[in-house]
């Protein structure tokens, strides 16, 4: 039977889509199993407190500078970019409220999480990946240690606990950046700025935003560990693990953010 080139190309294209979709679904399945295993192991003894604290220090303290700088610049830029529009409508006095709400509700958590996905997620992926290809994970297993418990559970918990704290610090520094612009351009005092920010904020802004950062942390930790723990193909695989940890967790962050906003919106309507 004669098949035109176009038809063959189309069929090949469909086949490629099917293969990629299968691979994606398989990965989702494996990640789900990995997540279930995490929740099963997290409550089992022994609890690796020392390693957990070490990871919290590594991830929290060492990400602080990056999160701070990013937050500061976001605060500055957001205020500088929004100010002319608000001036045009004579609503510049709303600036602290607007910046406060947008940073606390959305921009602070998502930007901090993305920065952490890049810094922490890729770090975990590369570290565990290199441990896998140099047989360090096997060596741990042979010594009678559960490597999943020691390496994965501690790291996932550390990111989950540290990310909300980093978001709070990032938000505070972003508001400081915004205040500096307001002070220079509009001669607003620090107390007045702070009062306006907190008058505009409600628990309904802070609580959901904080809760979702735990899920952001969980996603970054799980994806980073998953990619690193099952790293294959030697040193080239380590690079792939680090890279795909960032890409996959960033994508997940937006999906979680969408779900969080959607759920919050439903509660607002009630």
């Amino acid at each position: 039977m004669y098949l035109s080139n176009g038809l063959i190309k189309g069929m090949l294209g469909l086949y490629n889509i099917k293969v990629q979709l299968n691979a994606f679904l398989k990965e989702i399945g494996e990640l789900t199993y990995f997540t279930v295993r995490f929740f099963r192991e997290v409550f089992k003894r022994p609890f690796e407190f020392k390693e957990l604290l070490r990871q919290c220090y590594n991830m929290g303290n060492r990400s602080l500078f990056l999160v701070g700088i990013t937050g500061f610049i976001i605060g500055l830029v957001l205020t500088l970019q929004t100010r002319p529009t608000l001036l045009e409508f004579g609503a510049v006095s709303w600036m602290p409220s607007m910046v406060g709400i947008s940073i606390v509700r959305e921009i602070g958590p998502i930007i901090t999480a993305l920065v952490c996905a890049g810094r922490i997620g890729s770090g975990i992926g590369a570290e565990l990946g290199s441990m896998r290809v140099t047989e360090q994970i096997e060596a741990m297993e042979v010594s009678g240690t559960n490597p999943f418990k020691y390496l994965v559970v501690t790291r996932v918990l550390a990111v989950t606990l540290m990310l909300p704290l980093l978001v709070i610090v990032g938000d505070a520094i972003a508001l400081l950046g915004s205040y500096l612009v307001e002070n220079v351009k509009g001669n607003v005092s620090f107390m007045l700025y702070l009062n306006q920010v907190f008058n505009a904020l409600e628990f309904g802004d802070i609580i959901p935003a904080t809760i979702k950062t735990f899920f952001f942390g969980l996603a970054i930790g799980l994806v980073g560990c998953f990619k690193g723990y099952y790293c294959k193909n030697g040193t080239a695989g380590v690079g792939i693990a680090a890279n795909s940890a960032v890409v996959f967790s960033s994508l997940l962050l937006f999906i979680i953010d969408f779900i969080a906003v959607f759920v919050t919106d439903i509660f607002y309507d009630l």
């Binding site: 140099t134 047989e135 360090q136 096997e138 060596a139 042979v142 010594s143 009678g144 240690t145 559960n146």
Partner: protein
């Protein structure tokens, strides 16, 4: 050398029967058998990709065999639960091909790591620090205790890995290519060290290598792994003078 009277079924510390393992269509182990006797140095030789590393990983439960039995000190590890396997692993030392030292830990922490898990076994014994120093002294590296793995040479890494293996005083030590990637002088030092360790700790050793010199010096018996089966077993002298072309190919280097 191992005394002949040790070769009796009562002295078997590790026994593999009919081990099968395949990856897709590739049959790596195809009914492999092995017996390791108390105090013996058994060298397993085979071509690259012949399944030596797969076999040794099956022995400690790092890889699951498709079928067959693996008895370590009369415990079938294919039937043990994770907890029992972890306890048994304290009696099996494993020296990895690339040393597998934990990069983020100092030499001291590397050696302390197995002790945390097996404290019960060592409860009445010396304190951790003394054990770490003693293990490092036995490989001649007590001065390197606070160095990071990245600061060690290849030979030093292999020695530290051996010290980490020895710290739990295992009854069996599995060596995966202990001299690969080392220069001839360092390789010889490692072989001498392995002999010293065997004399001092009275261990039984299973050594995977394709280094004929290493096999000649250290082996009590040699097992040739060819086409996934235990093709031939015997002393170095017996195998190196064999007329079988497949066996000859190993020793004509």
């Amino acid at each position: 050398m191992m005394a002949d009277h040790n070769i009796s079924n009562n002295n078997i510390v590790l026994e593999v029967k009919n081990l099968y393992k395949r990856f897709g269509d590739n049959r790596v182990l195809n009914g492999f058998n092995l017996k390791l006797y108390q105090g013996e140095n058994l060298v397993v030789m085979g071509k690259s990709g012949s399944g030596k590393s797969v076999m040794i990983k099956c022995l400690v439960g790092l890889m699951e065999a498709d079928s067959g039995s693996i008895s370590v000190m009369h415990h079938d590890i294919t039937k043990l639960n994770q907890q029992a396997l972890d306890v048994l692993r304290a009696d099996i030392g494993f020296l990895f091909q690339g040393s597998a030292l934990y990069d983020s830990m100092t030499v001291r922490e590397n050696l302390e790591f197995p002790l945390r898990r097996h404290s019960r076994k060592n409860k009445a014994k010396l304190d951790t620090e003394t054990q770490v120093v003693a293990a490092l002294e036995s490989v001649g590296l007590a001065h390197a205790i606070d160095l990071m793995p990245a600061e060690l040479s290849g030979g030093m890494k292999r020695r530290v890995a051996l010290a980490r293996t020895l710290i739990l005083q295992p009854k069996i030590i599995l060596y995966d290519e202990p001299t690969s990637g080392l220069d001839p002088i360092t390789a010889k030092e490692i072989i001498i060290l392995m002999q010293d360790v065997q004399k001092k700790y009275k261990t039984s050793s299973l050594i995977i290598t394709h280094d004929v010199d290493c096999a000649r010096v250290i082996s009590d018996r040699i097992l040739l792994l060819i086409d996934g089966v235990d093709y031939a077993v015997g002393t170095y002298k017996a195998l190196s003078t064999s007329e079988d072309p497949k066996i000859k190919a190993f020793f004509k280097q």
